[in-house]
Every structure is written in structure tokens, then in C-alpha cells.
Symmetry: C2
Subunit: 153 residues, 2 copies
DNA sequence: TGCTTGCTTGGAGTGCGCTCGAACTCCGTA
DNA sequence: TACGGAGTTCGAGCGCACTCCAAGCAAGCA
């Protein structure tokens, strides 16, 4: 679940999972996984070289996702769930690729996003109160079997 | 703020506000207000009859929004903010138009939506923890000036 | 050898919620 | 009477985040 800075296991970067398996695990479609790679939201996923030769990059070569890839996808999934635009995630991904000296920028990006998420939560909570109130009003009206004729509602 | 079943004031339904005023008050654009009406998300807004005659419905007649319209727009705004799809709000609006016998259906629709909002809030809260954790990790790394070379992060 | 299943590519298409444009009308002020 | 500004209509266009398609490749199995 965690996206860590280092990994104990040596095969953390080894391609193990087909696109189908990853789709199933992440809930994303294979289409979306390929699209993420195409737009640069994921680094280039390693390919399985076909037995019939070639360098593993021609048509017909297959993606093999590593645990590292899965961790990244999980993180991306969380960010998407919080409504971070793909463009911002791309920016973050680029910072990661640029190396350690971008850590401060990444942290600031996340801090800005955290503020947005907090705002969003409080928006939702205040809307929830409105919904609760309205449901209560309906429940009361049903209970008392009244039949007033307002259009508001 | 409230969308009530009845209103004390007799002019609650009287058209008072131009589309520009309503746009300013609600934060929606005039385009969006007209679009809401077109798709049926608002009842037909009353029109100001031009002095040169006509029935007030030709090209050039102007919308006049009432307080009732503003209340409805505010409610719609809340629902939009919580991510209710326009199609669902349309369904709700149609139920309102159909009259009091649809109150139960409306309540159920709102209850379903409330569940979604609650789920959304808890999603956001759990994502917030992940973001917090990640920011902390970055802050620690910055504080200790370390320079490990992982790609994850 | 053929068949099926799963994968590959680049590019086109989709659904949502607006957003904008063109051409026109009305109203108030000079 | 002219002009600017706000409003009208219908319909086309846009940005986002996918989603799908056509044509072809690869591997397993009968």
C-alpha cells in the first residue's frame, strides 16, 4: 500500500504482471493503463521479449508491470480519487523523474492539493447538512400525510 | 437559503431579477442559466413582455427570475457541488413538477445520493491520510538533507 | 494447421457539463 | 435618431478523461 523511497526486496523493479492482471488489481481498464503510459503519467513499462526474437519493443511485445509500477498506480489512483487533474499528476510525475532535487516542489504540490481536498471535504459536509434537512422535511410531510401544493421541494 | 414548502411572502414567485443579476448572485454564467432552463433543470422562467407588444415570448423578451427560482438554483448548486449528475437532478426536477405524490420518490433519491456523498467524504478522508503521510516523508527527507536515489516518491 | 485468447499500435470517438458564436432584439440615454 | 449594452435564439464547439476500433502479433492447445 505504501509508496516508499526504498524497497527491501531486490525484485521490486522486476516486471511480473500482465496488463490484464494489473487491470484487475487496480480497477483501471487495460485501455486506461496504456493511455497513462502514453501521456507520461507512468514511466515506460518494461516489455517481455517475444520468443521469436526482436528487442521486445515491436508490435506484439507485451508489458510486464513491476511492484513498483503497482505502487505508483495505487498512488495515482488515490490522487485521482481526490480529484487531482491528470495535468497536475503529470507535473508531479515529471518532478519525480527529475530526481531528488525536486522534492521540495513535490511537497509543495501535495500541500496545495491537500488544501483543496480539505476544502472539498468541508463543502461536502455542509451540503450533507442541506440534504439531511431536506430528507427530514420530506419524512415529516409523509408522516403527517399532509397534501399542501407548493412547487418548491 | 432554505428551499421551503411554503413561503410567507406573496411576491415569492414574482420575477424580479435579470439573468445578469442571477448570474452574479449564483456564480453561474448566463449561458449556463439558459442551458439549465433549456434542458429542463429549471422550470420555464417568466418573461418580461416588451413594451412594443407581443406575448413576451418572442425573440427579445427577457427572463425575470423570482426568489423561488433563486432558491431552486441554490439547491441545484448544492447538489452539483456534491457531484450529483445533471441527469439525476433532472429526474428530481421532474418529480417536483409531477406534484406532491412523488415526495417519497424524491426522498429516496436524496437518501441514495446522501449515501454517495458520505462514501465520497470517507474516500477523501482516507486519501487525505495518504497525502499527509507522503508530505511528512518529504519533510523528513528535506530536514535530514539526505540524498537517496529512489525513483519512487 | 487452425483456432482462441490476450495483447500490440495509432488514431478516432464518446459522454459530460458546460461554453461560445452569430445574428438578432430591446431599452435607456444623448 | 443613433448608439451602446444587456438580453434573445439555436446550434456548434470545447476540455477532460477516458474508451473504443481496426488490423495485426504471440502463445497455447487440439
Amino acid at each position: 500500500m505504501s509508496v516508499q523511497q526504498t524497497r527491501p526486496s531486490a525484485d521490486y523493479e522486476v516486471g511480473k504482471y500482465s496488463i490484464g492482471e494489473v487491470a484487475e488489481r487496480t480497477g483501471l481498464t487495460a485501455h486506461t493503463l496504456r493511455w497513462y503510459e502514453r501521456i507520461g503519467l507512468m514511466r515506460h513499462v518494461s516489455r517481455q521479449r517475444p520468443r521469436t526474437g526482436g528487442d521486445g519493443n515491436g508490435r506484439g511485445s507485451r508489458r510486464r508491470y513491476s511492484d513498483h509500477d503497482l505502487d505508483w498506480l495505487e498512488f495515482v489512483g488515490k490522487m485521482r480519487l481526490t480529484g487531482m487533474p491528470v495535468a497536475d499528476m503529470l507535473r508531479y510525475a515529471e518532478l519525480v523523474r527529475q530526481g531528488d532535487h525536486t522534492r521540495r516542489a513535490r511537497r509543495e504540490l501535495l500541500e496545495d492539493h491537500r488544501e483543496e481536498v480539505r476544502d472539498r471535504i468541508s463543502d461536502l459536509q455542509s451540503c450533507l447538512l442541506v440534504i439531511d434537512h431536506k430528507i427530514e422535511t420530506y419524512a415529516d410531510a409523509e408522516a403527517s400525510n399532509d397534501d399542501e401544493h407548493s412547487q418548491a421541494g
